[in-house]
């Protein structure tokens, strides 16, 4: 996989999520493009690279989403989404053997799983941080449970957006430089029996 292509696409997607993302908002729930990009990469790149690349995407997502502290100042915490994306990637990578990768519906299902896991892990890490540091969480004044509820709906939005995004990314596959390996095994069909 070409890292330069991945980094540019991830940052470009983050910028689009931060601006054009409001177009996809329904009833206070907004789908994002970034999870679909990460899932597309996870379904094609080697496992070790996929997890590291997902961490990088998580870092970019953290940098684009500052939180407001109780005193009205801003804070960027790079880390929660890094871990959440890594765990999301670890959940998606084993699905490669089960999914038909070039089918956008497969990517959409994998994106739902990825986003759901990312959302839950992200909320969990913030709760841990809040408990340890006695600080407020980004969803203040709402509760962690309501945030998880929102993340579930957002995962549905991400999955819906993944349909066109993965179709587009599939067209750009040569650009990514994924190494394609084919395993040919002998069988009745191949031998013409």
């Amino acid at each position: 996989m070409r890292w330069s292509v991945f980094i540019i696409i991830v940052l470009f997607t983050c910028a689009l999520d931060a601006s054009l993302g409001a177009v996809f908002e329904i009833g206070g729930i907004r789908g994002q493009l970034l999870p679909a990009v990460v899932v597309f990469m996870c379904l094609a790149a080697p496992k070790r690279i996929a997890v590291r690349a997902a961490m990088l995407a998580g870092l970019a997502a953290d940098l684009f989403a500052p939180m407001v502290l109780a005193d009205g100042t801003l804070l960027v915490v790079p880390g929660p989404r890094v871990l959440a994306f890594a765990l999301g990637a670890l959940a998606v990578v084993p699905l490669r053997g089960l999914l038909y990768r070039q089918n956008p519906l497969s990517s959409s299902a994998a994106t739902f799983l990825f986003s759901l896991l990312v959302g839950i892990v992200w909320v969990f890490l913030w709760i841990i941080r809040s408990v340890i540091l006695s600080s407020s969480a980004p969803w203040w004044p709402a509760t962690g449970a309501s945030e998880v509820f929102l993340r579930v709906f957002a995962a549905v939005g991400d999955a819906a957006l993944a349909l066109p995004v993965c179709w587009l990314l599939e067209k750009s596959r040569p650009l990514w430089g994924f190494r394609v390996t084919m395993r040919v095994s002998p069988g009745a069909a191949r031998q013409g029996l």
């Binding site: 601006s19 070790r48 590291r52 989403a65 407001v68 915490v77 890594a86």
Partner: protein
Amino acid sequence: MSATRFVQFLSGKRLDWSLACVAIVISMLPVSALKPWTNDVARLVLVPFVPVTHLGMFLRERIRPPQAIFDPRSPETIALDNEVARLRLLYEQTRLSSAQLEQTIQALRAVSTRIGSANTTFVEAAVVALDPSRVGGVVQVNAGSRHGVIPGAPVFIEGDLFAGLISDEVGSFGAAVIPALRLPSIGCRLYPAEGSDPRVPVQNYAGAVLKPTGRGTWTADVASTGELSVGLVARVADDRLPRSALGTRIGRVVSVEPIEQVPLARRIEVAPIAGLSDVASVIIAIDRSQQ
């Protein structure tokens, strides 16, 4: 040699675990350890992509234009409406200001001095990015210290709608706006939609301290014998906010409910008239005397 060995040691799964550990440690660092560098790093990453976010906002305006706040009418009527809103704002601002001034002579002197040297300028800024992770989050605008923007400056939309405050992180060419719904509390007074009666003292209109509910609205317990009804307009009356924010509209009362424990008080819910995510540009009021 040892560096090469270390690189060889730190590869494969060890590298993944190391990265995860670093992420955990950074996630759990206190604010004082993160704030000096993470905000700057984020700004450095965001700046090269501002043209992309600008293009995205332009497309957003075309694909899904903001909902109209007022009914579409003829240009003359809209111009008159704007004029009335501006005069009403000035009027409410003056009334609230004079009510505060009457409270203490010291305050009167201090404030009259401030008014005498008031030098408020307005800067128009385009909204270039929204918080992608949540609705109603922080908004980035393309005006910064080079344009005179200072931390804590109030931000307005639609002329007299208080939308938020500039955060303490002001870059040279950009700044972040903390939406009014993310502020811990805002003091306000509730007026009829058609405006206040000049014969009625300001104190007769109910005051409230709005606190965010987390559902995109505010709530407040109002201990007032005056009439409270749906449709009342909440106007900023908070000493902690800059004077230019005084009297500006912030929201509309959408529900009034009794409180069983306190029979004389009622709980109101106030919804914002418009949010920062609904607009393409904002007005920042900069008080030169605060610089």
